[in-house]
Point group: C2
Chain length 314, copies 2
């Protein structure tokens, strides 16, 4: 009778499993690595590593002890009505905060320095220096969501010399950043920020937050960067705001529906930059360091880091 | 007989003189502000504020005591065979270093994060995440020229997490940056840098430095950013290097001839970003602070800061 290993199961629609399998087998030799969809003896699956699993999949493993999410956001998983009542562990930061900070910096500089216009000039071979760029002192970057990622974004943008504003649902004090909170704070925050960066988690309070009312509170020369969640933004309201020059432009990495449908007018809107959910990509080796260390903690009776609070939703 | 004021004369093909006139008249009331081209009583011109004056213009003012250049580079001025033998003062940094750092950061992020490809995907409505971006630890940024501006660029790029290499003609030690110098150092520097940023002054030693030999020493997946001087780069050699995939791309702000002629193939080269000499624009108020303080120093018998060394050429 062959020896029975407990199983670490894996599910991801986009990740190549080889990297994950190799590290797990090397660093956790007591386990067997299998793809969750193809596991036959489901009772041996002890841990699951997942990104966007189909609803109900996790519930089929009766002895599952913990779920590791291969990203920072867990909202999709928490909407699974059949999600088993076991610990859910998310990634703390697998290189994602820095990547997202760089994404924001790229967008902010593109807007402030008008690089998009120079691209247009290059196409028509027009040599046209735009000498009246705005001093960065007047180009405040407002970060919504001041968790681990928001703090890194705020800090890196601030280091480049841009004034940084922060908004969160509850009051926070952060060195070098003017912070706002709640509904009243939001009005003042949006009036001042030249770039509004959405980094909020998806909760009942943040869903559809970026709607017509929100956009009307932004200034006419301001820009929106959404790297939070597509469900924060009412895309029709954004399109209307851009048409009516309520705001100046947007850079979007997340959408109501992903992949962004071909017929969605955001694709060819001249004031919108579309990227395919790449502002923060999980770096497998960094994620694996965290997951392996957390599985070792669990195996020795400890509590993993970055445990998700289901009530808060993150 | 009207009172005679000494004159501060101004010449710039691109700057609007009103800002300059207003500040000079306010802060140096003993002087009269005039446009150098239209001064009738040339003997009253004591100081000249210039950018790209025509050869010979400065020599027509017999009592000129000092020339202030409205930028960081003085090479064009020093080539004037009729340049009078008086002190030449350049701008130390009128917001330019930070602007140039931001320009470099924009370029580095555009290359490393492949934003250009996402722009192409957006045009054809293709949702295609490029999940294998290179970790920034492997994306070294090499800064050539470690003067006041080079140091700010190196520091700001380094703060974002990119490894920074530095090259200069003479040895320099800088915290947090691996430095190289001279011909031997250049070979190693170019082999390692994924982005080579030219920030050198224009001298006999740096003219045509970026030629076929130089480009062949760069790696095939590397990029060139030129914000130094157009005369550093042999544009034909760059075009050949791009055709033959000797390097991967370039972002150019300065050119052999400016404005870049319509027939120049750089304009519509798919691997080249062209901007019209805007990486560092003089911010008039910051420049005026420096110039006014230097004129006061000269008037009280002192020595101005940022005096140009004609032998060195900067």
């Amino acid at each position: 009778m062959p020896e029975v290993h407990p199983v670490i199961g894996f599910y991801s629609p986009s990740e190549d499993e080889v990297i994950w399998k190799t590290r797990i087998e090397r660093d956790l030799p007591a386990f067997q690595f299998e793809l969750l969809e193809y596991v036959e003896e489901k009772q041996f699956v002890k841990y699951a590593l997942v990104w966007s699993p189909p609803n109900g999949l996790l519930n089929t493993f009766e002895n599952l002890k913990a779920v590791f999410v291969l990203g920072a956001g867990v909202d999709a998983l928490l909407r699974d009505p059949n999600l088993p009542s076991i610990p859910i562990v998310r990634l703390e930061d697998a290189g994602m905060a820095q990547q997202m900070a760089h994404y924001v910096i790229y967008g902010v500089l593109r807007f402030q320095r008008r690089f998009e216009e120079y691209e247009d000039f290059q196409i028509i071979k027009q040599w046209k220096p735009l000498v009246h760029i705005e001093p960065i002192e007047q180009f405040s970057v407002g970060v919504m969501g001041l968790g681990a990622i928001g703090l890194v974004v705020a800090e890196q943008v601030s280091r480049l010399g841009f004034p940084v504003l922060g908004w969160s649902t509850s009051p926070k004090e952060i060195d070098g950043i003017r912070t706002f909170y709640g509904e009243d704070g939001l009005v003042r925050f949006l009036a001042e920020a030249r770039v509004v960066v959405d980094l909020l988690p998806l909760t009942a309070a943040t869903e559809k937050l970026i709607n017509r009312k929100f956009l009307n509170r932004m200034s006419a020369d301001s820009f929106l960067i959404n790297i939070g969640r597509g469900a924060h933004l009412l895309e029709d309201d954004l399109l209307e705001a851009l048409e009516q020059r309520v705001i100046a432009g947007a850079m979007l990495d997340v959408f109501e529906q992903e992949p962004l449908p071909l017929e969605n007018p955001l694709w060819n809107h001249p004031k919108v930059i579309v990227t395919p959910h790449v502002s923060g990509i999980t770096m497998p080796q960094v994620a694996l360091d965290q997951i392996i260390s957390n599985i070792k903690l669990l195996e020795s009776g400890g509590t993993p880091k970055a445990l998700v609070d289901r009530k808060k939703g993150y």
